[in-house]
Symmetry: C2
Subunit: 610 residues, 2 copies
């Protein structure tokens, strides 16, 4: 039985782990699979609409690529489009960005295309925070041709007093089905969207972005549970948006945290394309489609961008990577300049003085840049877009460093990012990266100790120098600054400061602290560790009386029943919910009767599955 598919082997079908031990004869041959039983799903993540919107050259990139994705969805005639978060780059996107998104979704996703999958779960649970009472393709007032399902990422997460995501907006217009939003920060219960196409049953679990530290803690404390439908013939597909790799002082979700009951995880957030499904330690398959736009000029982003055509037949699946044609080419390279002494040996002492040293460095860099431009051209991308280039130039000799911005000006009409084509890095040892010796390998590791992000740097500063802020909780403030930067929530630091001030005053009053003890009390109060992130706690407080005990709303049969899929998961608890969908006879959606001519859409629900 096959374990891995490769980018070229689109006809290889993988089986979910639990079936791999069964009799080989059960592996269905391609001939035996009926088109009407196969879910065909287009998978994409991290589209980052609105990224670089004000850049004179790249302003339209994300919109063009989102349109390409929607075109592929139409051409491939998929059952739905599944997005893994960060559809928007900002949590408060510009009006133009929202307009463009709405316009594209309406143009491509509404229409007369028949939808042949049945929605079987309870919309009030799946979309409880989206203010919709049905999956969008069952809305009697909309003619949806391609349903879109999306979780939110860290960029388009809910913000403000009302905890609204930009996804709420397009969801309220009926253009996407926004799911997987969880607002209880202590425990999470994931209710799957249940879909049926012919003989295939699909349970789609969505876990929108939660701060990694918090989610990691919840997994550890077994506070993440997955409701499972009755029966063992469900294909369990999960989509999440978290750190997968360790990054600086921030935490991440290790592959093995995932519950074993899941057959396949679509992993958002990570931008490098590792779309080919791989099996984690606990046998769960993971596919990481990667972003459809490079938002940083790092090596990982230079891996060609793909989306995936996921086909699911009963417990088997197949992922076919589809290269994106509209993505701006991005070429990444690293070189190490030959130093003064080496050049003198090569060209002779008289030829290389300090001026010539820099001139030779420029010449060397120019040569590589020209190669990179040619490499980008050779990709033959649509519309001959100007490429993004990033060349890391290692040097050992300060005299070789030249003005990178002025250097870039000569590539004004040849590259999309003339201002930051080159980054210099000080390299203390002599080597020639062109020859690829041992020291090249160390080049990459050089900056590991420098955190990537300003908040990590700040934390490091306070840790290293053994100083403390008096009145402000550093961690909370740092988090609010992150919210401000990452999620475009300009009010977050103010809100946090206000909260901390009020909180301190309240406590001072409650404890009736005398004036001379105020300072000590505040410092003590401030340095107390918080179990959960204070910033989120503040937001949580603001949310007020959200229905957190949602599980009680479900009709749960807690009695033992051997006929259900087994409860699994190391770090997780999987509970069995029966009748998650209230019985609803066919035709109970009265309004629908007024729309004829769409008989090809299977909407009857005569056979309750639960």
């Amino acid at each position: 039985m096959c374990i891995y598919s490769s980018l070229s082997q689109s006809e290889i079908w993988l089986e979910s782990p639990e079936d791999q031990n069964m009799d080989e004869t059960q592996n269905t041959t391609a001939e035996a699979r009926n088109e009407e039983d196969i879910f065909s799903i287009l998978v994409a993540t991290d589209i980052h609409m609105g990224y670089a919107e004000k850049d004179p050259i790249r302003s339209k990139d994300t919109f063009v690529t989102f349109e390409e994705i929607l075109q592929v969805a139409q051409e491939r005639n998929v059952d739905f489009l599944l997005l893994g978060g960060d559809l928007f780059h900002d949590s408060q996107p510009s009006t133009y960005c929202l307009y463009k998104c709405t316009e594209l979704l309406k143009r491509y996703c509404l229409g007369d295309r028949p939808i042949t999958m049945e929605y079987l779960s309870d919309p009030s649970l799946n979309f409880s925070f989206a203010n919709t009472d049905s999956v969008n393709y069952e809305d009697p007032n909309l003619n949806v041709g391609i349903p879109v399902f999306s979780i939110h990422g860290n960029h388009d997460d809910p913000t403000g007093e009302q905890q609204i995501s930009a996804l709420n907006l397009i969801s309220s217009a009926g253009l996407v089905n926004y799911f997987g939003k969880h607002t209880n920060f202590n425990s999470v219960e994931v209710e799957p969207i249940l879909l049926k196409k012919g003989q295939t049953h699909l349970a789609l679990y969505g876990l929108s972005h939660i701060k990694d530290e918090r989610l990691g803690r919840m997994f550890l404390d077994k506070n993440v549970s997955f409701l499972t439908p009755q029966g063992d013939d469900w294909f369990n597909l999960m989509v999440i948006h978290q750190n997968r790799a360790s990054r600086g002082v921030k935490s991440f979700i290790p592959d093995k945290s995932l519950p074993e009951m899941i057959d396949l995880v679509i992993w958002g957030h990570e931008h490098n394309c590792l779309i080919e499904p791989v099996q984690a330690g606990n046998n769960v398959f993971i596919s990481q489609p990667g972003s459809s736009v490079a938002t940083s000029l790092s090596q990982g982003e230079s891996i060609p961008k793909h989306i995936g055509l996921l086909q699911i037949y009963k417990k088997e699946f197949n992922m076919t990577p589809i290269p994106l044609k509209t993505v701006r080419p991005f070429i990444y390279r690293e070189i190490l300049l030959r130093d003064f002494e080496t050049l003198r040996q090569e060209y002779g002492e008289n030829e290389v003085d300090s001026v010539a040293n820099q001139a030779l460095a420029i010449k060397e860099v120019e040569k590589v840049i020209e190669e990179m431009i040619q490499e980008a051209k050779d990709l033959g991308r649509k519309g001959n877009m100007l490429p993004l280039l990033r060349l890391h130039v290692g040097y050992k000799d300060e005299g070789q460093v030249f003005n990178a911005i002025r250097f870039g000006q000569k590539y004004q009409d040849k590259v999309a990012n003339p201002k930051d084509v080159i980054k210099f890095r000080n390299h203390m040892r002599t080597s020639n990266t062109r020859t690829g010796d041992k020291e090249d390998k160390e080049f990459m590791a050089e900056t590991v100790n420098l955190p990537n992000r300003v908040e990590d740097l700040v934390l490091q500063y306070f840790e290293t120098n053994d100083v403390q802020l008096k009145c402000l909780n550093l961690r909370a403030f740092n988090e609010s600054v992150m919210k401000c930067i990452d999620s475009n929530q300009p009010d977050a630091p103010i809100e946090v400061c206000n909260y901390l001030t009020k909180d301190a005053i309240k406590k001072l009053e409650e404890e009736a602290i005398e004036e001379e003890n105020v300072e000590a009390f505040i410092i003590e109060n401030n340095t107390k560790q918080h179990d959960v992130s204070l910033v989120d706690k503040i937001l949580e407080n603001k949310l007020g009386k959200k229905p957190v005990a949602r599980r009680q709303e479900m009709e749960i049969d807690s009695g033992s029943d051997d006929d259900v899929s087994p409860v699994k998961g190391n770090d997780t608890t999987a509970s069995t919910a029966r009748g998650t969908r209230p019985a609803r006879g066919p035709g109970s959606r009265g309004g629908r009767g007024s729309r004829g001519g769409r008989g090809s859409r299977a909407r009857g629900k005569a056979n309750p599955l639960f």
Copy 2:
């Protein structure tokens, strides 16, 4: 024949001016008017969604009232909802505000309600900037129950590189029909939306907000033209969003600028409710519904808020004001404190020292505030909302002035705006406003010389003090600051500065100015008067190659034909467009055939009107 209706006389029908000289027997009696021939239109303007969104008390006000308006539209079973601009308070509304708007529109305006009016004009002309190819209720993918038509105002006008309004966003979702957007700043040609209901023909002219100075100039230069359909049985309804009253140094559009061919104008932008139609000098009826929320605590805003039910039958119309029930009560008053000497005469010299003087003033103000609170309660508004109060307190004696913010704190739980309940005004003369003598009348006039707005103050400063900015064009910069404040376009001043810098450099290069003459040249260049607003010009330049010669796209019969409505207008030119709508046989919208069960909607277009 009646000329005026009053708030209570909803059954009085007005006739358009040209018919008033006809035989009285032509005035249709109520009995003769057939329901199926009467257009029923709900009219509202200046809803300002998102205003005071961050105010702890008022945050939901605008959303609640917009919902009330949509509810009225449903209850009154209107043919459509007509909005006169400023649906949004910001040109870049918050995501929550956009979400709320979308959610409400989808909830109330989609549905199975039959629509019995025919759309007869060309959507590519009416909605040319809205990227839609049909009026929304003819979109085969949407089930629209209440069509909404809206122009933009000065608050939700198009912004940014792409010149996108928030209305474009909700229009792209198919929830409103956004019309009347004109991007050519030198001339405007208004193509009406043509609608037919039974025997009534309605031409709806939309003129979204244009800077008053510019539009005034265009009217003066006869560069505003109105295309008119063939036939003289059209009721010509116009909706605009401009200054109607003179405000400081800014210009306004006088009533008499309006073309005589218009029967009724719905005037947006002005917030005081003057919804009762009045006839202007040129016989055009004008109805000014006023805003549905008080965005300033001025006297005009304290007039009870209304929307209007406009009924149109052939050339007659009737406007029934509908009071809004969810609007927060707002009580406005002015008093003049009795001064030290008066009080001493009244209470005796020993009783009133400087401390008692202020205490008596506080007591007097408290008494009025309590009366105002009671007055608000007596309005019996829904939900017992805390009222808005504004008391202008005139004083002649500095010793009577007290801290207004501290004073307001005691009304924390009684009024919605405790921080600014009171405004003090220095009054140089002795009078007692309570007795209402002659000097009361002068109270209002006192601040006339003080402009309301910061940009007027700045202009005044430079005019009065005979100083000049050297490098910056003051007018342009002032305008960009206005855009920044009014339309939430934070980039406007930067864009304008960038443009002016580039422009200056370009001219310096072109004219090859020598170094010692640079300063003089810049000052000369700067002080040159611009015929049209520089800020708009900058935006215009950015727009690039928009199709401005749109009139050529229409099939215009320029030959003489007595059978067309006469060309009228003092300051305007009205041209006759025939066949503004390309011939389109019934059923040519193929996609529509797929939706049955909606036969009650008259969509056949078998009888071309042109």
